[in-house]
């Protein structure tokens, strides 16, 4: 059954080809069912392949389909590497993608480009599978660029609005910075090993010179932070929320953004062979990103923006896990995160859909009575991400924190603070959307104006405004907006994902080694370089208790602030956080000011020196030629004379060189 592995990417590709040529004719909703069917079949295949993989030695199976680039010593095959890591990725990618496809049939209902949406989604799933299944770096890079392109198409899917189009461009361009690093890493890998096939060069990694390994690891890391939205390249992900919500769930939460994590886990022998500051850097960048994004998420008003920053933050956790040597913990968190974040995004999509494209949390509230299914599933997702036991996020986050403590207590403390912030901002989101007073309709405009006024004035005065608007809220009737619960294609995925978000923790329970299924499953891939934890029962219990306390503390704090209203939220939702630490503004200011001057200088250099050299050669050639043209005067005898003179010169030259 494992031989069926080629079907995994082939099915979404077939779906894509069918839809790209006949999509318009197939129309809504059949195009959606075809797209969903292709991915669902791929998921079924993945399950069959998974069963087959148990029979393979070391759970690894490599299949070379055909030769792609034969060029001297450089050989790239279209080949598939199916090992525990790619298998785990494939299972959750195809599984979640099937659910999100199904959801999209409901969500995209009535859109004028309905078939095209599924065309892109199928192309995305195909690219993602190429990325994780490719048996060499070049093929992974092909998938990497494929998902990047699909991400661009889908962010800018509603390109009629200027800001959606520029969000797409921002994502694409920011990713290019990372892709540059990835490409350099591929070149260096070929230079160092003479091959880019994983099964050939990874076993050789321990023998690599440390400097080379460090450089390759650094460049791969640059690639990974671009795709996985880490400092300083995370700025594209919040803007990517301009796309339709299923896209945010699939691409910008569950799958594509985890590609960087996958890449680093895949090349773990290279990280192990590099200088010791590389893992430290990965851990610190991950930790800093997790913390920074969590603080920004505190103050966002757009429901999707909160989730976007939360994704950045959770990806930071995964990088932290890689940096501290907890590769299996990174994959564990990737999987649980895929479940609960996809669930949260789809839930948010359901809310946005039900609220008629309203995304501002200030105009929501009390939705649990109107959207019971969405609310219950969303609350499960919330408990999972907040780290409340026994939901999945608790186990995976705790796994990472245990590895972090093993490496350094400082990383552990920052991880805990971030966990506290996570619990707080997610509770804030849930309380504002599903609990409290209904704030739908026009009245929110008043609150908006109030808030805008507040940001202009200083913090002391703001208390009065807050009271004023609370009174206003009480009078505000349920305006023109009539929220409604979504239809079944949107609810079924929510329920399935909620189930997994609740129980996915059983993949890797820390109590005994027998329960750590994922650890043992990933052993052939990461076993040698995984940090070894030996947690005693006491230490484990204490850590679990601390994590639980932190999560409950965060939720309680949010309860006091947003439901009991003991504290003015504006004390917490600082403009500094709301504006994302002014990073975007900083970049804009830099690009418009000093940076602009610098670039103009470089452009000048380009114009004067580089272009000057090129144009100079051209001009010199033309000038010299027009002067030399004079000797080509058209007289036959002149040519004959020149032949004669030339012959004489050659003879004279030969005479001086040759001695008789």
């Amino acid at each position: 059954m494992v031989g069926l592995v080629w079907l995994l990417p082939a099915l979404p590709l077939a779906g894509f080809l069918l839809l790209v040529f006949f999509g318009k004719r197939i129309g809504e909703p059949r195009a959606g069912w075809i797209g969903t069917g292709a991915v669902a079949l791929s998921f079924v295949t993945a399950c069959l392949v998974f069963v087959g993989l148990w029979g393979e030695p070391e759970h690894t199976y490599e299949l070379s389909l055909f030769q792609w680039i034969p060029a001297g010593h450089f050989n790239v095959d279209i080949g598939i590497l199916l090992d525990p890591l790619s298998m785990a990725m494939v299972l959750f990618i195809t599984g979640i993608a099937s659910l999100i496809h199904l959801y999209s049939i409901g969500y995209m209902h009535g859109d004028s480009r309905f078939p095209r949406f599924f065309t892109y989604l199928n192309l995305f799933v195909f690219s993602m599978l190429v990325l994780v299944l490719g048996n060499n770096l070049v093929l992974t890079f092909l998938g990497w660029e494929g998902v990047g392109a699909c991400s661009y198409f889908l962010i800018a899917f509603w390109f009629e609005k200027e800001e959606n189009a520029s969000a797409g461009k921002k994502a694409f361009i920011t990713n290019r910075v990372g892709d540059w690093g990835f490409m350099i890493a591929i070149f260096m890998t070929f230079f160092a090993f003479g091959t880019v096939t994983y099964t050939q060069f990874l076993p050789m990694a321990p023998g690599l010179a440390q400097t080379t390994a460090t450089f390759i690891a650094l460049m791969l890391f640059v690639g990974a932070i671009g795709k996985s939205a880490q400092i300083p390249l995370f700025i594209w992900l919040p803007d990517a929320m301009a796309g339709p919500t299923p896209v945010s769930a699939l691409i910008h939460a569950a799958t594509m953004v985890t590609a960087g994590v996958y890449l680093l886990v895949r090349v773990n022998p290279i990280i192990a062979a590099s200088a010791s500051w590389i893992p430290w850097m990965i851990a610190i960048v991950g930790c800093a990103t997790a913390f920074l994004a969590a603080t920004i998420a505190l103050a966002q008003q757009d429901i999707k923006k909160v989730l976007a920053y939360s994704t950045v933050s959770q990806l930071g956790y995964m990088f932290l896990a890689i940096g501290v040597g907890g590769y299996s913990a990174a994959i564990f968190h990737m999987i649980t995160h895929a479940f609960f974040k996809a669930l949260l995004f789809l839930g948010a999509g359901s809310v946005i859909h039900g609220m008629h494209d309203e995304q501002d949390m200030r105009r929501m509230g009390a939705l649990r009575k109107i959207m019971p299914v969405t609310a219950v599933t969303f609350i499960i997702g919330w408990l999972a991400i907040a780290g409340v036991p026994p939901f999945s996020g608790f186990w995976s986050k705790d796994d990472i924190l245990a590895y972090a403590l093993h490496k350094s207590p400082i990383l552990y403390v920052f991880g805990l603070i971030t966990a506290l912030l996570t619990a707080f901002y997610m509770s804030r989101l849930v309380f504002r959307v599903f609990y409290g007073d209904a704030r739908w309709g026009e009245s929110a405009e008043g609150e908006l104006a109030n808030l805008n006024a507040h940001t202009a004035t200083d913090a002391v005065e703001s208390g009065d405004h807050a009271d004023a608007h609370d009174d206003g809220d009480a009078h505000a009737g349920h305006g023109a907006v009539h929220p409604h619960e979504s239809k079944w294609p949107m609810l079924v995925p929510l329920i399935v994902l909620a189930f997994f978000a609740a129980v996915a923790g059983v993949l890797n329970l820390p109590f005994t080694e027998h329960l750590e299924f994922l650890n043992r499953w990933l052993e052939p891939v990461v076993g040698e370089n995984q940090a070894h934890l030996s947690l005693g029962g006491v230490q484990l219990t204490v850590e679990l208790l601390i994590s639980t306390t932190i999560a409950l503390l965060g939720i309680f704090a949010a309860y006091m602030v947003y439901l009991k209203k003991k504290v003015d939220p504006r004390r917490i939702e600082l403009p500094f956080f709301a504006n994302g630490w002014y990073i975007d503004q900083g970049i804009t200011a830099f690009m418009g000011g000093i940076g602009r001057k610098g670039f103009e200088l470089i452009a000048m250099f380009d114009k004067v020196v580089i272009d000057g050299a090129v144009n100079g050669v051209g001009r010199a050639t033309r000038g010299g030629a027009s002067r030399l043209r004079a000797i080509e005067n058209g007289y036959v005898r002149w040519y004959a004379l020149m032949i004669g003179v030339g012959a004489v010169l050659i003879v004279a030259f030969v005479m001086t060189q040759v001695s008789f």
């Binding site: 005067n633 058209g634 007289y635 004959a640």
Partner: protein, 102 residues
């Protein structure tokens, strides 16, 4: 053959070559120019034969045949060009063909 006699032949060859060369350079009638080229070729032929005899090497004479064949072919092309030119512009000299210059 004495070396003096050989020297005489070579001198004659050199004189013929120079006459031919100067003719090509100073005459403007294309027909005469072709004849001068022929003269140069045959001067070279003469020196080939002389050297062949001097060095007792038959290849000196063999190469003359090649030269003659090539010369014949060259004359065919050259005369054809001259006829074509004379038809189009009667009385044109080689210098008048300057206009063909790019």
């Amino acid at each position: 053959m004495g070396s003096n006699l050989s020297l005489a032949y070579l001198m004659l060859s050199a004189i013929l070559f120079v006459i031919g060369g100067v003719g090509v350079l100073i005459r403007r009638n294309p027909l005469v120019m072709i004849m001068c080229v022929e003269l140069m070729l045959n001067a070279v032929n003469l020196s080939f034969v002389t050297f062949g005899k001097m060095l007792d090497d038959i290849s000196g004479q063999i190469i003359v045949f090649f030269v003659m064949v090539v010369a014949a072919a060259e004359v065919v092309v050259g005369l054809a060009l001259i006829v074509a030119m004379a038809r189009r512009r009667p009385g044109a000299t080689a210098d008048d063909l300057r206009t063909l210059r790019g």
